[in-house]
Amino acid sequence: MIAQLLFTALLLAGAVLFARNILRVRRNILLGRDVTINDHPGERWALMARVALGQSKMVVRPVAGILHIIVYAGFVIINIEVLEILIDGVFGTHRVLSFLGGFYDFLIGSFEWLALGVWVACAIFLVRRNLIKLKRFVMKELDGWPRTDANLILVTEIALMTAFLLMNGADQLLASRGAEHYIVAGAFPISGLLTPLLDGLSNTSLILVERICWWFHIIGILAFLNYLVVSKHLHILLAFPNVWYSTLRPKTELVNMPRVTGEVRSMLDPSVQPPTVTAHTVAGVEMTERFGAKDVFDLSWKQLMDAYSCTECGRCTSVCPASITGKLLSPRKIMMDTRDRLEEVGKVIDAKSKWEDDGKSLHKRITEEELWACTTCNACTEACPVNIDPVGIITDMRRYLVMEESRTRPALTSMFTNVENNGAPWAFGPDQRMKWTEQ
């Protein structure tokens, strides 16, 4: 009875904490500019089914892709087992779903195979990160917490799967010995192999092992659920909405800035009124609209959702022509910086219950050298398994530099001047436009 109460209390605490954390992430995302994304819902659901649910972009790299699908399938399917654990925990039952009979055996057997698959896949992932040291996993933007974060997640998953298998191993042995409370149910293709290891233990010790693993497994899952929100691992939830809301337009199409259209129209025709500058209230503070992005508030909520959806896999950076040729730019770092800045802003709002300018901005983290290295080739958006768009953030930040700060590269200033004066990026006037037709 005490165990049941303790379990229920833990469960509630875990759920409440998780809800609070998720609402905080939601609030942070909504600090972004408002944009409406709800066109072509059918196409969006299909895209989400293909890219997020179906992992279509993951398998472009078959080794990592297939291992990831095993972990993903394991995570989703083993959660059916968690459902049983929850019911057992609250009501003090044991293997409450065992009335399913043969189907239950099939389920438990499948979970065991998946658990083994997850265990092995995570072990290989650890090897790729820490022994083989694949380039995208050892780049300097991962130094410190991001690298620890990745390893913690993998180690935790291995620990959870170990506990799950050890629990089943002890459980089925107890059942076969006819121990009270332990019913014969389920199939144990993997944990059955642990019998020689556990057979020397008394029933009392076995029950201890089984209970410890059971509690570890469920507490681990509750803890992991709350760890998600302070970790790159949030992608397991946000991948789905993030793909749903991703652009359906051609990759190289840049979003228009209607306010600039209004300004330009009024410049070209004095009878047209310039557009009024709108202000919107963010976290209790009125913010005027800027040209381009100085800080996270100037990005759209979708761009901020992108930042929280990034799991730092680095596929974007590994295909980026700038990064490949040793430039400072890494699209992954753009996303990490955006998220870290958003978190920083969120903490100020948490502490002061409204936004107070901290004198910093996104440009404190992302340098001009990074921004001006981008070729807008969209290799990064093509590579991202959850349709994140770093190019949009880079362009918006360039827009701020150019239009609000008049900061650019000198050669680009000449290009601007030429386009403005000659209608061409070079110093050739319209009178020379047809010269090519002469020999």
Binding site: R249, P250, K251, T252, E253, L254, N256, M257, V260, T261, E263, V264, L268, G292, V319, P321, A322, I324, T325, G326, K327, L328, L329, E369, W372, A373, T375, T376, C377, N378, A379, E382, T395, R398, R399, L401, V402, M403, T408, R409, A411, L412, S414, M415, F416, V419, E420, G423, A424, P425, W426, F428, P430, D431, R433, M434, K435, W436, T437, Q439
Partner: protein, 263 residues
């Protein structure tokens, strides 16, 4: 090859009370860059051989604003775009073909939001249609049996999903089309996009065009085929970097067709 090109402007057509079938948007590179001018001429020879009734804007054409927009100068982009849309709509232009994927992307995808909606084609798509319709004929010619590798322009391929048209055209040359490891959706940029064409590269260990040219040369090609004047420049420079300009040509798809068909 040296007979005068038969080119009329939209103004010529309007003065004669005629309407062309398609506007050839030459683009700034195609108009002013010495190398790219040859691509414009090759494409015009194809258009003339196929008896396409086309026009150019001539002095009325102005930069689409693409480089300004990518480099963050939205005001300048929109000034250019709104002026161009006024000219295009003034002539009632419906169909546009261009040999520049950057002009292509801007005209096709970004002008509609500013009041300019047209059917826009890249010249490789247009040439492919002409070949399919039998309006021009090409049989191998100089390039029969040669090894050709095609470099996907980002703004045509990844940007707008067109990977096949240039390849279908190249297959008409009876050449061996060899693919680089990074091709189609995984194609590596030449290094010119996003305004880079007009500035020095940021500090790094290597130039992007050298990286890409090395990969292209790795396929042991006779010809590196391009579909973008900027890629053409970058790859030409890259081939020179490896002192291979004597052995390997960098050519636009239009030039290959015009030469092979002796147009």
């Amino acid at each position: 090859m040296n007979e005068p090109l038969h080119i009329r402007t939209m103004a010529d057509f309007a003065a004669a009370g005629e309407v062309p079938d398609v506007l050839f948007w030459v683009g700034c590179a195609g108009s002013f860059d010495d190398r790219a001018r040859k691509i414009s001429k090759a494409f015009v020879r194809i258009l003339n051989a196929a008896k396409v009734k086309f026009a150019v804007l001539g002095q009325e054409e102005s930069c689409t604003g693409d480089p300004a927009r990518r480099a963050g100068n939205e005001f300048l982009f929109q000034m250019q775009a709104l002026n161009n849309v006024t000219v295009l709509n003034g002539y009632g232009v419906r169909r546009i073909v261009t040999a520049c994927p950057h002009c292509f992307n801007t005209l096709k995808n970004e002008y509609p939001a500013l009041g300019g909606t047209y059917e826009v084609m890249h010249h490789t798509q247009f040439i492919n249609t002409l070949l399919k319709e039998g309006r021009i004929k090409v049989e191998g010619g100089n390039f029969k049996g040669k090894r050709i590798t095609f470099h996907d322009p980002c703004y045509l391929g990844r940007g707008n999903g067109e990977y096949e048209a240039p390849r279908e055209v190249l297959l008409k040359l009876d050449a061996a089309l060899v693919e680089m490891k990074r091709s189609r959706a995984n194609g590596l940029c030449c290094g010119a996009g996003g305004g880079q064409m007009f500035k020095e590269a940021e500090p790094g260990t290597r130039e992007v065009n050298v990286e890409r040219s090395e990969e292209a040369l790795g396929t042991a090609p006779n010809v590196i085929a391009a579909g973008c004047p900027f890629c053409n420049t970058m790859l030409t420079d890259g081939v020179k970097h490896f002192n291979k300009e004597g052995e390997v040509q960098v050519k636009d798809v239009a030039e290959l067709i015009a030469e092979a068909g002796d147009l």
